[in-house]
Structures are given as C-alpha cells and as structure tokens.
Amino acid sequence: MSSPSSHALEITRLHFRYQGRGPNDPGFELQLPSLTLARGEEMLLIGRSGCGKSTLLQLIAGLVDPNSGTVHVGGQDIHALKGAARDRFRGRTVGMVFQTFNLLQGFSAMENVLVALLMSDVPKAQWADRAQSLLRSLGIERLDARAEELSVGQQQRVAVARALACRPTLVLADEPTASLDPENAVNAVRVLRDACREQGAALLVVSHDPSLEAHFARKERLDELMKRRAAHDSTREGASA
C-alpha cells in the first residue's frame, strides 16, 4: 500500500537476473542492496554499457518485475501493484526520458505532452494550459510542429516536458545525452535538472558518460553499488562461519 514517505525512490535488496537468449546475449545479473533518493533530489548513476542501467530504470518504473526485493516510488511498492493499476501509478508518478527521446512520431510537440496527460488523473480542463506552459518554459514555440520536424535539442525538450507533464514524483532519464554533442549534452542536462527542480521532481539519470559527473552533487557508480552488495554478503558469510 502507498504510505507517505520522504523518499521519492527506495530500493531494497533488489535482485534481477536476465537469462540471455544465446551466445551473443549471455544475460546479466543485477543486485542492488539499497538505493534511496529523497523527494526533489538529483542523482547521477554511472555505469558501463551493458551493465544493466536501463534495466534498473525499467525495474524502478515497474516495466520489468524483479526476482526479489522491493522498489518503492513515493512510498508505494510499485511491484505490489498489478496490471492497469501499476500502469496508472507509473503514468502519474514516474516520468521517463530516453536516449532517443521516444517521441510519438506523427504527433505534434503539444500532442506528445497531451498524451501523457491523457493517461494521468490531471483534470482535462488543465491539459492544454499545462502542456503549453511546460513546452514554452522549455523554449518550444512551435507547439504544432510534428516530432520529426523538430531539431534534436527541441525533441529532447519535448521529451522532458512530457516526462514532467503529470507532476511526477520521480523522473528517470536513460542516457539523456548519448545522442547529443558535448555542448548540447551540457544544455540538455541543465534543461532536465532545471525543469525537475521547478516541478519538484526527483531526478535519477543513468549514463555511461563520466563527463556528466561535474553537474551532479550526488553520483554513484552502479558497479560499486553492486560490489557493496558482494562485500556485504561475504562479511555476513564470514561472521556466520
């Protein structure tokens, strides 16, 4: 059940094993003893390619179920929710920004944001104002331009606006700068952070790019977080021996 929590995200003993589908896809194992993110906090999670960063975000968003452990978002164990209830919860609590932005092709900038609101419990009367003000605050003026007609930088801003449309507790950004050149990458991170701050949303960015570390007060390395788990286990084994 959902309970008031000071944490936007609280992960406890998360274990996920991906079996892989053959020699070229050997699979991997993700074990995270704990990870918390306070409401409104920003954090950068660095990890090499293929270590499971994106999978972690999917676990947090409830798109993939863990083998064990819990993920609480805004005090709610997201994996305790099933089916449509989990989808609805994700829609109004978690915003996601992707490396390739994943805007809906054929939809305008405005419509991309409105789709997110359509899935939310925000009253319909507020949708247009909310979408317009978000897009304008992010510097998008061509609201009717189709996603594919926008520049990469503009697409990224639309993706940020869409992620924040439902006033989420937590925004998950998956390699948000991987498609951008260094200059635009810095701008993109700034836009993302500013927007999340303005909306009061916690921000978890996963990336393989160490250059982003300078922009975040709190940064973690996924492999170190997982080593802590291994060390913790061996300490417990030694104590019991």
Partner: protein
C-alpha cells in the same frame, strides 16, 4: 487529445497503407451493396414490365413462356388464338380490361405489337403509370404506327415517317424505296405493299414496351391475309373487306379484372385464374407471379454473385489484418511509449482494435458513398442514353447491414494485431537498453 486522436494519428502515420486498405474495403463493400441494389432493381425492372395486367392468356407452352413472349417480347408466340376463342374469352367475364395482341411482325428486329386502341387507354405499361406520348397520338386508323421510345431513338424515325414491316423476326426496310441490299432473312418477308406511317412516339416507360412498335390489329391481319392470297396465286392489295374470321387471330390477351379503387388484387382473380386454367386449349398466366418464378429460378446465380462479393469483402478483412500485422514492427515502439506513459495493456488492445474498426467503418462509408454515386450516375446514363429504367435504389437497410458487417469484419481482423500489441514487451521495445 483522446484515445481517438491517438488512433487517428497512428493511421495518419501509415497513410499510404491505410489509404490502400480503406480503398480495398470500400471497393468490397461497394461491390456487395451494388449487387444487392442491382438484384432488387433487376427484379423491380422486370416487375415494371408486367404492367397492370392481372392475367395474360395465350397458347404458348407454359405461363412463363407466355409472359416472356407476350409482355417482354422475347420471341414471337407460335400458336394463335382464333376469333371464336377470343369471343368466348371476352364474354366469359365482365373484364375491366380486355386487350388482344398479335405479335409476330417486326421492324429492324424490334417487335411490332398489333393491338386494340384500349392498349393505350386501359393498359398501363407500368402499374400506376399510364402511357405518355412524347409526340403525336395513338393510332386510330389502319397502317398507323406508334413507336416505343427506344425504337424512336435507335432508328431515328420521326413523326410522319413511312416504314414497312417484316412478317417474322427478320429485318425490314424503311420506306418502300430503301436500298435493295437490306433484305429480310430467309424465314421472313417484307410487306412492301403496306406502308405504315408514324403517328406517335411514346415517352420512356422503363419497360420492354420501349423497344416495340404498336399498330392496329386490322392492319396486321391484312398483312397476313395478303400472304393467304399469295399462296392462292392472287396478287391483290388486301382491304378490311377481304378479311375472314380465320385471318382475325391474336397471340395473346391482356386481362384486368375489376378491383376496388387503389387496390391491385381483385377478389375474383383466383377464381378466374382457376377457371381459365381448366381450359386446356389456352395458357393462362398471372404475370407478376411468373416474374417471381423467373427470379426464383435465377436465384442460384444470384447467390453466386453474392458469395463472390462476400469473398471480396472477406479478402479485404484479411488485408486489414495483414496491413496491421505488417505494421507491428513500427507500432511496437509506439505501444511501448504509451505503456511507459501509463496506458494499460487493455487500453492498448482497444486502441489497436479501434484502429482496425475505423478502417472498416471508413471503408464501408466510402464504399456506400461511391456505390450510391455510381448507381445514381449509371441510372441517369441508362435512362438518357438507352431509355432503360433500372432505377437501382440504395436500400437503406442493405447499406446499414453492409456497413455493420464490414465494420464487424474489420474489428475481427483487428483482433490478432490487437493481441500482438497487448503482448508487446515494453522493455524490449524501448531500445537501446543497457
């Protein structure tokens, strides 16, 4: 923004394939509807041709042949009714209409109907629609002829034109001085001696009568009496005074019984029909019944056409299915994005199902609209160019049934892609993943 907007945007994103499938559905639905409309139109057109005659008496082999020959001019009746039988028939009942006809002569392959003046005053070529003259009047003396609208149009004959008729179904020549090369066939001969004058041209009726010429019985009898004299070796121009009872034969009688005002089902019809049927020397037919019998005979062909149209419609359903399944690779990412944004699997299922249903609905609507337009244009063209009143009406009930059937079929075709969308893995389709 609504779920419908998402569906419409998705269709717009694949505009070409959407348009092709919609057109395919439209053609299928339109074809099915056109067949349904033409089927009833054909039946109506045949029923029109029976006119207001309750009964048709002839000496043809069967009632159906009698109607086909006597009212639709399919062939010349072979066996005539003699004067004595005609008198007996006339006096057997107080008929509201008693119109004898003699069919056997022709003009340029158009049948010539020799008949009584009542043919124009009492017989209606289409029930409730009396004859109307585009020009002139009915014949009122010998060797006058009235042209059906199609005859006038196709032969170019005008008021006052002279023509000679052919005894039999061969071609005849226009006027006595026509070219010698235009001879009648071996089974027929031209009565050059008897020139007819066009005194009237009828307006189109949308019935087989449009393709016939009409003259008085006495002139026809004189033509045939001429043959009788020829066989006896006497060359003479026959007059009415030369006619004997044996010349005064007819091939059919159109009968109408007295009925109440506004009613076309006289109480005595069945009894008179049964009474006449007991007379083995004649064949009696209720024309409307024979037309229905004819349509019941050709029903199996009708079913075949319907089955073909149904198969076309089914193939358009398969096209919807294939089109949507083929688009799944591009659709999967959209589905994954919508799921991330909070759309449930059930909602995704309904979105895709709505998409296929809309394709069916739009296709059916376009098909019905195109069918209505084509039928309207074809009706006008047939009437103007050929004087044929097919009048296929777009039956509202058929249109609704076709629209509903097409939409339902499209919805069924959408189930498979909907299930595929429902089962789309969000994680796998939000590449690149770590």
């Amino acid at each position: 923004m609504s779920d419908l907007t998402i569906v419409l945007r998705s269709l717009r994103a694949r505009l070409f394939s959407t348009t092709v499938v919609v057109l395919l559905v439209a053609v299928s639905a339109g074809l099915l509807l056109a067949i349904l409309s033409l089927r009833s139109a054909g039946e109506r057109a045949f029923e029109r041709g029976t006119g207001n005659a309750h009964l048709l008496v002839s000496r043809d082999g069967s009632p159906l042949v009698s109607v086909l020959n006597g009212l639709f001019y399919a062939n010349s009746p072979k066996a005539p009714i003699d004067r004595a039988k005609l008198t007996e028939l006339r006096e057997s009942f107080p008929w509201a209409m008693f119109v004898p006809t003699a069919i056997g002569d022709s003009y340029r392959s158009f049948p010539v109907v020799a008949t009584a003046p009542e043919f124009f005053s009492k017989f209606e070529p289409v029930l409730g629609e009396p004859w109307q003259f585009a020009d002139g009047r009915a014949f009122d003396k010998n060797f006058e002829v009235v042209l059906g609208s199609a005859v006038a149009r196709e032969t170019g004959l005008r008021m006052g034109a002279k023509l000679v008729l052919t005894h039999g179904s061969g071609k005849s020549r226009e006027g006595a001085g026509a070219g010698a090369g235009d001879e009648a066939d071996e089974h027929s001969h031209v009565h050059k001696e008897y020139e007819f004058t066009v005194v009237g041209i009828l307006k189109p009726t949308g019935s087989p009568h449009d393709r016939a010429l009409f003259s008085d019985l006495e002139s026809s009898w004189m033509l045939h009496a001429h043959d009788r004299f020829e066989r006896l070796g006497q060359e003479k121009l026959v007059t009415a005074a030369d006619l004997v009872d044996d010349d005064r034969k007819v091939t059919g009688v159109l009968l109408r019984l007295p009925s109440r005002e506004g009613s076309n089902t006289p109480p005595a019809l069945v009894s008179q029909y049964d009474k006449l049927r007991r007379d083995g020397s004649i064949t009696v037919a209720i024309p409307s019944n024979e037309v229905q019998r004819l349509f019941s005979i050709v029903k199996s062909i009708d079913v075949l056409f319907l089955a073909m149209a149904g198969a076309t419609l089914l193939s358009s359903g398969v096209a919807i299915l294939l089109s949507m399944v083929n688009s799944m690779s591009e659709r999967r990412r959209q589905v994954a994005i919508l799921r991330v944004l909070g759309a449930s699997q059930a909602r995704i299922f309904w979105l895709v199902l709505t998409e296929s249903t809309i394709v069916g609905l739009v296709g059916a609507t376009v098909g019905i609209a195109v069918c209505a337009t084509v039928l309207f244009a074809a009706t006008a063209w047939l009437l103007n160019a050929h004087g044929i009143v097919i009048a296929p009406e777009l039956d509202a009930r058929s249109a609704v049934l076709v629209a509903m059937g097409t939409t339902l079929l499209a919805a069924i075709a959408g189930i498979v892609p909907s299930v595929l969308a429902y089962r789309t893995s969000v994680a796998r389709n939000l590449r690149p993943i770590g």
